[in-house]
Every structure is written in C-alpha cells, then in structure tokens.
C-alpha cells in the first residue's frame, strides 16, 4: 500500500512556505463576458468564487425567435467543445442539432398546425432529464447525474457499449465511431477532445458554468432565443420566461422529466 498524501507529509515533515504556482487571482480571472444579470446564478462560496451554481439547471427555447437556416448556437457549441465534423450522417457527432416539429414533437403535431410553425427549425439538445434512462442503464457509471441536474459523461470511464444510446428516447447521444481528432476543424486547447470508442453529448457547458460563464449556445444566439438558469429559483431567467408562456417538453409521457422547455 502506498502512503496517502497526508501520511507521507507527516513522515517527510515538509514545511509550508512561499507561494509557488501562479497565484489564484490570475487563475480565476477567467470570468469574462457572459456573467448573467439574471437571478438564480448567484456566485457561491465553495468552489471557484465566480462559479455559477443552481439547484436544477434548465433551459427554455423560444423557437419563434429562431431564424431558419441559422446555426449560430450549433457552431458555437461545436467549436467550444471540439466536436468533430465527419461530413457524413453515419459517423455524425452532434451536441446540438435542428429538427422539424413533426420529429421533435410527434405527439403534439397535427395536420392543422400552421406551416409557419411546422417548418420551424427546432434546436434539440441533451434534455438533462430529471430521471435519465441513460444514467440508469450505464454499466460503469460513466454517465451520471450531478446534484444540480446536469447529466454528465466521464469520458475517462466510458467503455463504449452504447447502451445509453439505446436508452435515450431523444437521440441526443453520439458515438465516436472513428478517431475524432483529424475531423475537428480547429482544436480549442481549453477543452479536451474525445477518443474513438466513447459516447458523447451536450454537457450544459458545465466547464463554463464553473468559470462563471453562461453556455456557449445561449451567448451565441443573437435573437436571445435561449434562456438558461435555475429552475428552482422563481426569480431566474428561465422561470420568468416559463411563467408567462405555455411551454412544452419533449415526450413528456415517458416520465424522464426533460429540463429543456420549448415555446412554439
């Protein structure tokens, strides 16, 4: 058995002295643009001082504001997360996509819905379900749910069995069928890539929230179609939008409790 850190230090009798590595102030000077004005994302004391925290993160998408053909949110997300572009549907990896209403809301679509709504490009994400089937089926706990509701992937642990892809009723997950690195248009060193053989998906930009920045898609949308915040906080952005409008969730009847809400 190797000694634990504290045991080792006791023996070594190392004294604490002088700050060595870059002082914290510079490390955490990361809170750039994107600090939200809305409530529900108050900085807390524990982790990095400026981190955004919530009891349950959620998103509202006002699809009426979406311009057809616009891919701003998708591009921003895929650049920020080093999502590869294979250029074919078979190997495709996507964190955000757009789909027609009939495909996103099959149960809510009927022939009398005006064409203007039916042809809306509806952005689809991981729903960060309250009761996620993907987490239930994962045999290694590589996908798990955080206390703030974010359904996370641990890419260090995933064995690539793809049970989660079969379990997800929203088609939100993608498999790295090939080595993704050669297909990433421009690698952003701030975020790791993935390897071939693991499954990946939207992470609600948890790495940005930790630095106090809102998700890339939310900031990228010039029409402000996406709102993000704490669903448990009555004063948050998302709650204000939801309080005033009728909203839908995808395949509500399955009991998964999606945390992405749509206004059509």
């Amino acid at each position: 058995m190797a000694p634990t850190r504290r045991e080792f230090l006791k023996i070594a009798g190392v004294s604490a002295a002088g700050l060595v590595l870059p002082p914290l102030a510079s490390v955490f000077a990361g809170a750039q643009a994107g600090m939200p004005a809305a409530g529900g994302v108050a900085p807390t004391g524990s982790d990095p001082r400026s981190a955004l925290t919530a009891k349950r993160w959620g998103m509202v998408i006002d699809t009426r504001k979406c311009r057809s053909g616009c891919t701003d949110c998708i591009d921003a997300c895929h650049i920020a997360h080093n999502v590869p572009n294979f250029g074919n549907p078979k190997d495709e990896i996507r964190w955000i996509g757009t789909e027609k209403m009939a495909h996103v809301f099959p149960a809510e679509t009927h022939p009398r819905i005006p064409e203007s709504i039916k042809s809306l490009p509806i952005p689809v994400f991981c729903n960060h379900c309250e009761n996620p089937p993907c987490v239930r089926v994962c045999p290694t706990q590589a996908t798990f749910q955080r206390a703030d509701g974010i359904v996370m992937m641990d890419y260090h642990r995933c064995i690539g069995c793809r049970f989660c892809m079969a379990a997800c009723p929203y088609g939100s997950r993608s498999m790295n069928f090939r080595d993704p690195r050669p297909f990433i248009p421009k690698i952003d060193p701030a975020f790791p890539t993935r390897t071939k053989g693991v499954v990946e998906k939207c992470n609600f930009c948890e790495e940005r929230l930790a630095q106090g920045i809102l998700p890339a898609c939310v900031i990228a949308c010039s029409e402000k179609a996406l709102s993000f915040g704490d669903l448990e906080d009555p004063g948050s952005d998302v709650r204000r939008v939801l309080d005033g409008k009728f909203s839908l969730r995808r395949r509500q009847e399955l009991g998964t409790g999606p945390q992405i809400y749509y206004i059509l």
Binding site: P89, K90, D91, E92, I93, E99, A102, H103, V104, P106, V124, P133, R136, V137, C138, P139, T140, Q141, A142, R157, C158, I159, G160, C161, R162, F163, M165, A166, A167, C168, P169, Y170, G171, S174, M175, N176, F177, R178, D179, T195, K196, G197, V198, V199, R251, L254, G255, T256
Partner: protein, 383 residues
C-alpha cells in the same frame, strides 16, 4: 481428457483447420476494427447496435439447449436424455463463450472492459447480464465436465454435482429474462417496450437450442459411432415443435396489440420489420423468409410421419434455426432503432469486415463445440 481432441480422422483435421482459418480471418478484421474504430461496421448514430449485439441476443438462446435436456432428465427422470445432457451442456458453454465474445468486440473501448467490475452498477441490466451469463458458463463447464469425467472412470457422478445441476434450471431462465430486459426496459423504443419480451426470448430459445442439438445428434450419428437414440431425438423434436408454436403465437400477439390499437409508436417499427417503410425494405424481405420458414418448419414438425424421417427432421430443424436467426439475430435488435427517436429511417447494412468478424466468432464457437463433442464421443465409444 483434453488429449482426446488432438487425435482424429483426416476429415476432423480438415474441419478444425477450416474453422481455425475462419477464426483467424475474423481476428485479422477485429485487429483492423481496433485500429479504425467501430466505424468499420455498418452501425451509425441512428442504428447504434448491429450484427454483433444481435448475434449475442440470438446465441443466448442456444444456451437454453442444456436446460431442455437437464429438466426432463433430472427432474422427471426421463432416462433417454441421460445420454445427451452433456451435449446440451457443452453446447451451452460454447454459446455463452460466443455471447461474451460478441459483447466484447462490440465495445468501443475494450481496453476498459475492467471498468465493469471496478465500477459495478446494479441499476444497469448489463451488470446483471454479466453476472447471469458468467454464472451459467461456470455451472455448465463444471457439471458437463464432472459428469463426463466420472463416466470415463466408470463411476457415478459425485453427489455435489446434483445441487448445481438443479440450480442450472432456474439459472437458464434467468439468462433469457435478463437479456430480454436489456431491451424491454427502455423508454422511447416502442418496439422493445413489451412485457412479453422475456417470454418471447424463452420460447424462441427453447426452439432454436434443441433444433441445433438435433442437428448435431444427427451429424454425430452419421459421422461417428455415437447414436443419441431415436426416442431422445423424437422427444427433442416435439419440444422444438411446441416452443416454435409458442414463439410464432407470441409474435402474432405483438402484431395484434400494435395493429389493432394502431398507435403509431408501436405500428411503425412492426411495419418496417414486415413490410418496410418508405421503400426501405431490406429487413422486411428477410423477415418474410423468417415467417415462411417458421411456418414450414412447424408444419413439418407437427406431422409425425414427417418428423420421424431423419432427412425431413433435419430440414425442419434447419428451417427453425434459419427462421429464428433472422428473427433474433437480425430483426429484433435493428428494428428497435428504426425509425429513430427523431423519426429517421436509417438503413443498416453490415459491412464486409463486420460480417468477417461475426463469422470468425461463429467459427470459434463451432470449434469449441467440435472439440467438446470429439472428447464426448471418444469417452462414450471407448468406455
């Protein structure tokens, strides 16, 4: 006893060499797959499980061959099966080894397979499937080998084997049930979300497993000095007939529920499976073959005059095998993904390397069966 597998006729040697060659080819392409990734297969974002998982699902069925012999012999004292229970157990061993191999080669990161044990997740059905499959493998290796070894020595099997054999009966039920639960518990996959998934697995397993066993007994009778006996084979053929009937009935029940209720989430998959959707009808063509062969096999099996003639019995068993291979080893898994949750119809066509790897694993399984049966026949005919 293993040394008995080393000596054999010229035909035996050629057959083993042939299987080794196929296994080698499969291994070569698996090595390619490790390098390129699972993109070398026909699987895609929409159809994320394919031939590999389908073969696994089908082969779990073979493992049932053992219990259909063990139960009558040990619980009901049906003496005629005494001669061949070991054959069933060895078939089960080979089948489970093939299952485990198929699941392993389907992993995107096989180098991390130990994570299954390092981070056990009792909420995952796959966790339980690993437990029941490895348990079943162990049970059948121990019982099959011990009983055969006692026979070789001419002594009755040791008393401690009996309880293990009794445990193997419910355990066999568990491997089909748990494998069915992999599919049956997923929200949003209407095709799999059916309570009779586990019963369907059991029914088709009790047909395909014994059917293959009959074929093997007929082959052994033809090429070796071992004869399983008319009565044992005829009883097995009746088991196949009943199980096949139940299996067909279950599929018809599924069709009724979907098409009488006419709920699109349920009909769309079955429409794709049997008639094709929007011109995508590759699987539908296969399924028609499956349906026809199932009916033909059933007719041949229920007519006593037909099934008592060995060539016809062999044909009926071959048809049963083919029909259920198409149904479980092709249709059941792939159709669950079509249409996708986003209503896309994405065809799945296995690639050459994918087929070569699958054939390689089948060859490996057949090789195991060959070796086991060689030892068995050697022990039986020499003592």
């Amino acid at each position: 006893m293993l040394e008995k597998a080393l000596k054999g006729s010229r035909g035996y040697g050629i057959w083993v060499a042939f299987l080794l060659l196929l296994t080698g080819i499969g291994f070569f392409f698996y090595w390619k797959q490790l390098d390129y990734g699972l993109g070398i297969t026909g699987m895609s974002r929409d159809v994320s499980w394919g031939l590999y998982i389908a073969q696994f699902t089908f082969l779990v069925g073979f493992a049932a061959s053992a219990v259909m012999l063990v139960m009558p012999y040990y619980l009901h004292d049906f003496k005629e099966f005494g001669k061949i229970t070991i054959l069933g157990e060895f078939l089960a061993v080979s089948a489970v080894i093939m299952c485990v191999t198929f699941v392993t080669i389907d992993l995107g990161r096989p180098d991390r397979v130990a994570n299954l044990l390092l981070h056990p997740s009792p909420r995952s059905v796959l966790f339980w499937d690993i437990i029941v499959l490895s348990g079943y493998l162990l049970i059948n290796i121990v019982t099959g080998w011990t009983v055969l070894e006692s026979e070789k020595k001419g002594v009755p099997p040791p008393a401690w084997v009996k309880p293990i054999i009794y445990i193997s009966i419910p355990w066999a039920i568990s491997i089909h049930t748990v494998t069915a639960f992999i599919y049956a518990g997923l929200p949003g996959r209407g095709f799999w979300l059916t309570a009779i998934m586990a019963p369907r697995f059991l029914a088709s397993a009790f047909a395909s497993g014994p059917a293959l066993l009959i074929l093997f007994c007929l082959i052994l009778k033809r090429f070796t000095k071992f004869d399983a006996g008319e009565k044992a084979i005829q009883t097995l053929s009746k088991i196949v007939a009943y199980a096949l009937a139940v299996s067909i009935f279950f599929v018809l029940v599924e069709l009724f529920t979907a098409f009488y209720s006419q709920i699109p989430g349920h009909t769309s998959h079955l429409t794709y499976l049997f008639w094709g959707l929007e011109g995508h009808n590759m699987i539908a063509n296969w399924m028609r073959v499956s349906a026809l062969t199932a009916v033909a096999a059933f007719i041949l099996l229920i007519i006593p005059k037909a099934r008592t003639r060995e060539p016809i019995l062999a044909l009926a068993c071959g048809l049963t095998f083919l029909s259920l291979w198409i149904e479980k080893g092709l249709g059941l898994v792939i159709t669950g993904f079509i249409p996708s949750p986003l209503e896309a119809i994405t065809d799945y066509i296995p690639t050459g390397p994918e087929i070569a790897i699958s054939v390689g694993i089948w060859a490996l399984g057949l090789l195991l069966i060959t070796v086991f049966y060689k030892i068995f026949v050697a022990v039986r005919t020499e003592t």
